[in-house]
């Protein structure tokens, strides 16, 4: 058995030994241990190096609040950094190492930082590494980052599976300590749906390390009885190993459940689960964290919190050392002293800063044979990697200095208590407000904003009897609030209560020299290496607000969010400012309460499932043809179809020429489609589009631009009149839902008198767009009964016909500038249509083309793409599309804004075509345009390139751009400075091919 393990006692299973490795060495622990308790059992206190000074650091706590004992676990895909050894349940074969030490914890090269500690005062980054400026990125930052090390990111993919669960309940109880268990039972008895979540492996909270009894049975047995009672209720869900990490609006809470971490890695199944809970009421029973006293060299390994020392000996049967000293300003450490002495530790003395120790606890300690030294403090600590001795000196009556004879006591551990800080994190996250309780020397909940109640230690009720009573009360209040009848009141469990003497707040324990002088350091935030001197310096430098202090000194900004340090830090600030703590205030806690793995947050939404994918009915065909896809909104669209190792440009050139010279086909099913019906449908279109719709004939199509009220282009598309009161609108692929929302908005809230009904039919139709000079020939074969002559079926019209045996709507519209037919069939027939077209198209050399070719072809024609040529600051006039804006309609959405002075300016950025002087050069999209070829930045920018392609049809590059006063710059030369070179471009009209439209009308 390990040296510091007691032969009996605790909640570990001595029949189940477990082997583990820490920093390369093998050790043994037991089932029920945490990594921290197992290390302590083996006498290992030194577990890491501090962040800034690389000082040796030991285990300080026994729970979530641990600032020092950060470890990384396992290797490869299972590697995980930033875990608190105090929360890692031991499993057989566990491999862990210290996180912040190089080359090893025993010999840490970074400890040399300690000799330069004057450099590392508050704000040292800002003060030290300012000059020369260019050194920051290249020299200082990399060195600082390596020295500060912190956690490494895993380098391999995580092989584990994670999961999410949504849940609703009447009462969520966060924390299953005495208050939480009582609240849960009261809620359960009333028939409420209850969820009880606790971060530990076992329910019980503080009771797991408690030696006194409840209702005449040991506390742990009482916990088990409560757990069993709760489990018997069908509507109660008990979740151990589940941390309530976030409290969001309207009682929406996030919980992280660790399902298999305690068994090892690679266990299969779901490793961790994220719970998203909507609770009608929340009972916060999250307990309290003990805080240390801030004394000289209080960070030496072997110095731990008294409550933690008590938990290790009572719960894990582990002695924190052989010979200890207890140092306190309150009564709770006396219980630790008594229990430690009872279980084989030699307690040399209880050092109490209070001038007298006459209370009931003190008497109990004296009766147990313990020596109490009152009105004294630890003024110095000997030992670097492990405490060797402490120096005790009498405190002056004002607590500002120590003086008189110094007593040296040899010891190998020190148990410290500076009082308790209620764990108000979730309350703070919920928006609740705190107040400072002078008598208890801590912040307690004051104002609730959401439907929650705090009970027990997290409410500042730091004694067991009170916690049980408050828990029961909170449970009953919660069920009443959700409209249930609380069960008949029963007697509270009986506990032994020792009246506590008041705490004596002593925020800085004076050392032999004034704070900040000499070598000794008074640590406040051990994780971020912030000392009392840093805080005092920061406040002298003018950082008077607690929020500024936090950011300047980084106190409380570690992964522990300052659970053990925040109250000490702001009390020291308050002391330095001579301003009371309530007026200094406290910072706001933010989620998560403890770090959550990315895996838990991502759940199953990884890889292919990381986003919703919408595919067309012909998707399988595209995949089989080797199409490369691009994401457009959520849609997967074929981008191009490479043949025999073609590059993007080669494939697109081939596809473009096929469409211009023969016939090509595009899957256009993704365009948004909105079916519009009702007697006022035409009037509605008149109001939302800039052009006129009343006179559009049945079976005719019209292009429309939709603006916002500010006159900027919002969407575009072709709308077809299917009947007197029936239209089909198409929208851009990515904007369909937003268009529908906006149209509904106008119909429902501005013009409820209009009788118009909208239905999204995007997925109802599959669309094959056939384009090219041979399109008529091919469509003629597929629809032999249809007259395709220009007279019978002109451009911008629609016919219903049978195509390849399928009832179809054919739209003669064109986005390529070619003769083009868009054949629409019900979605389920899409693949049949597509295959029939290809069967017929083979002899015509039918070529499938993707979105890239579509973009090139439309750019050759100067057709815009909303979102590419527009960005929310572009009007139809800016696009040179004056023709689409009706001057006759009295009103439509956006009209009034066209006459606003800024919109009516004639020198706005306007759409132009650009031809590079060197036809081989293709401008990068987004390139800035300047008037002058040379110059040093910053130069005035005229605008930017919106679209740019190689045009195989024209055998040169083409581009479109939005440039200031573009209309008046026709035939001038502008420049695109690209850093390595500057390209001269001629400004032309944004139409590069068939400007008279002979081909699409052909």
């Amino acid at each position: 058995m390990a040296e510091f393990r007691n032969s009996s006692g605790g909640r570990i299973d001595r029949a189940r030994p477990l082997t583990f490795r820490f920093n390369g060495k093998r050790y043994q622990g037991f089932s029920g241990d945490t990594l921290a308790s197992a290390l302590l059992a083996n006498g290992v206190h030194l577990v890491g190096r501090s962040f800034k000074y690389h000082r040796p650091r030991g285990i300080v706590t026994a729970g979530a609040e641990e600032p020092n004992a950060l470890v990384q676990l396992e290797t490869g895909g299972y590697f995980e950094p930033n875990l608190r050894a105090t929360q890692v349940e031991l499993y057989d074969g566990l491999t862990a190492s210290s996180q912040n030490a190089w080359p090893s914890v025993d010999f840490d090269i970074g400890a040399i930082n300690g000799f330069f500690s004057k450099l590392f005062v508050a704000g040292f980054y800002y003060k030290t590494f300012m000059h020369p400026r260019s050194f920051w990125m290249r020299v200082y930052e990399p060195i600082i980052r390596r020295a500060a090390a912190g956690a490494r990111a895993p380098s391999e993919a995580d092989p584990d599976t994670y999961d999410k669960m949504h849940a609703h309940c009447d009462v969520l109880v966060a924390g299953a300590g005495p208050a939480g268990l009582m609240a849960a039972l009261e809620a359960a008895k009333a028939g409420a749906r209850v969820i009880v979540a606790d971060e530990q492996a076992e329910f019980g909270g503080s009771l797991l390390g408690e030696t006194s009894g409840i209702d005449g049975i040991p506390a742990a047995q009482w916990v088990e009885k409560m757990r069993a009672d709760l489990a018997a209720f069908p509507e109660v869900r008990l979740l151990p190993r589940t941390t309530v990490t976030g409290y969001y609006d309207h009682n929406y809470l996030i919980m992280a459940e660790r399902k298999t971490d305690h068994l090892g890695r690679g266990m299969g199944g779901v490793r961790q689960r994220l719970w998203k809970v909507r609770a009608k009421r929340v009972v916060l029973a999250t307990g309290a964290h003990e805080r240390p006293l801030v004394f000289a060299d209080n960070d030496r390994p072997g110095i731990m919190l008294a409550g933690a020392a008590r938990a290790y000996v009572n719960r894990y049967g582990v002695k924190p050392g052989n010979t200890g000293v207890v140092f306190t300003n309150n009564d709770s450490a006396y219980e630790a002293a008594i229990d430690l002495a009872k279980t084989g530790c030699r307690i040399e003395a209880i050092i109490d800063v209070r001038p007298q120790a006459t209370g009931a606890m003190a008497q109990k300690a004296r009766a147990a044979g313990l020596r109490i030294i009152c009105g004294a403090a630890i003024a110095g600590v000997e030992g670097a990697k492990r405490v060797k001795a402490v120096e005790i000196a009498p405190l002056s009556s004002d607590g500002e200095t120590v003086g008189g004879p110094v007593k040296r006591i040899e010891c190998d551990f020190v148990a410290v208590s500076g009082g308790w800080t209620p764990a108000v994190h979730l309350l703070s996250q919920s928006g609740g407000k705190l107040r400072f309780d002078e008598a208890k020397a801590c912040f307690v909940p004051n104002v609730s904003v959401q439907a929650e109640t705090s009970a027990g230690a997290c409410n500042g009720t730091l004694f067991l009897e009170g916690a049980l009573e408050e828990g029961a009360k909170a449970g009953r209040a919660a069920v009443e609030a959700v409209g249930l009848m609380p069960a008949q009141e029963s007697a509270l469990p009986k506990v032994e209560t020792v009246e506590a003497a008041p705490i004596h707040a002593l925020w800085i324990v004076p050392g032999k020299k004034p704070v900040g002088h000499g070598k000794a350091k008074h640590f406040v935030d051990a994780q971020n290496d912030v000392t009392a001197a840093d805080i005092m310096l920061a406040s002298r430098e003018g950082y008077r607000s607690v929020e500024h202090l936090k950011r300047y000194t980084t106190t409380g900004m570690g992964t522990d969010q300052g659970k053990t340090s925040n109250v000490n830090a702001l009390a020291i600030l308050s002391r330095t400012l001579s301003s009371p703590i309530p007026s200094v205030g406290t910072t706001t806690f933010r989620p998560p309460y403890t770090p959550v793995t990315y895996g838990t947050l991502a759940g199953r939404d990884v890889g292919e499932l990381s986003d919703v994918a919408r595919v067309t009915p012909m998707h399988g065909w595209h995949v089989a043809r080797g199409a490369v896809f691009e994401d457009v909104g959520q849609w997967k669209r074929p981008w191009y179809y490479p043949k025999d190792g073609e590059s993007l440009r080669e494939a697109v050139n081939r596809e473009c020429l096929a469409v211009r010279n023969g016939v090509g086909i595009l899957d256009a099913s993704t365009l948004g489609k909105i079916d519009i019906q009702g007697p006022d449908a035409a009037e509605f279109l008149n109001r939302v589009y800039t052009n006129a719709w009343s006179k559009l004939g049945i079976g005719r199509c019209r292009y429309g631009i939709m603006c916002k009220e500010d006159g900027m282009v919002f969407d575009d598309g072709v709308t077809t009149r299917l009947g007197e009161n029936h239209f089909l609108m198409t929208t851009t692929t990515g904007n369909a839902a937003a268009v529908l929302d906006r149209l509904e908005d106008y119909l429902q809230t501005e013009w409820p008198d209009l009788k118009v009904y909208l239905t999204s039919v995007t997925e109802h139709w599959a669309t094959a767009s056939i384009a090219g000079p041979k399109a008529r020939e091919l469509v003629g074969e597929l629809a032999p009964d249809l007259d395709l002559s220009n007279d019978a079926f002109p451009f911008m019209s629609m016919k219903e016909a049978t195509v390849a045996g399928l009832a179809a709507r054919i739209y003669r519209i064109s986005f390529t500038g070619e003769l083009s037919y868009e054949i629409n069939v019900p979605a389920y027939q899409g693949m049949a249509l597509w295959e029939a077209i290809f069967a017929a198209g083979e002899t015509h050399g039918l070529t499938p083309y993707g979105t890239e070719t579509m973009h090139v072809l439309r750019a050759e024609k100067g057709f815009i793409i909303v979102g590419q040529e527009t960005d929310g600051t572009v009007t139809p006039f800016d696009l040179g599309m004056d023709w689409i804006v009706s001057t006759k309609k009295p009103d439509f959405v956006g009209k009034r804004s066209f006459s606003r002075p800024d919109t009516a300016r004639t020198d706005r950025k306007q759409l132009v075509g650009l031809l590079t002087e060197d036809p081989e050069e293709v401008l990068p999209e987004g390139a800035q345009i300047t008037a002058d070829a040379d110059g040093t930045p910053p130069m005035p920018m005229l605008g930017h390139v919106t679209s740019s392609y190689w045009s195989a049809t024209l055998g040169r590059s083409i581009a479109m751009a939005l440039i200031a006063d573009g209309g008046n710059r026709q035939d001038t030369t502008v420049h695109a400075p690209l850093g390595v070179k500057t390209l001269a471009c001629k400004v032309v009209k944004p139409v590069f091919f068939d400007s008279e439209g002979a081909r699409l009308n052909g």
């Binding site: 609006d249 309207h250 909507r278 839902a737 908005d745 809230t749």
Partner: protein, 93 residues
Amino acid sequence: MLLIECPWCGPRDEIEFAYGGEAHIARPADPSKLSDAEWAEFLFFRSNPKGAHRERWVHAAGCRRWFNVERDTVSYRISRVYTGACEPVGEGQ
């Protein structure tokens, strides 16, 4: 995540809704009669109160209906969900 009571579908998570800005700002019946300043007032200026705020929401991933919500911009508490463009406005905040 807010819990919003859709008047037609009942309480649903915020993720199903889209926000529509401040409520009770009617589109002027005849914008051409408005001065540039008046039109700018309609287009750009909103009240942004600390406290009760009447705002529009649409159940975009549900019934697609627009409705009004009175929500406290500090606590996010929703005090009222109602429909109808004709709701008397009044300051009441």
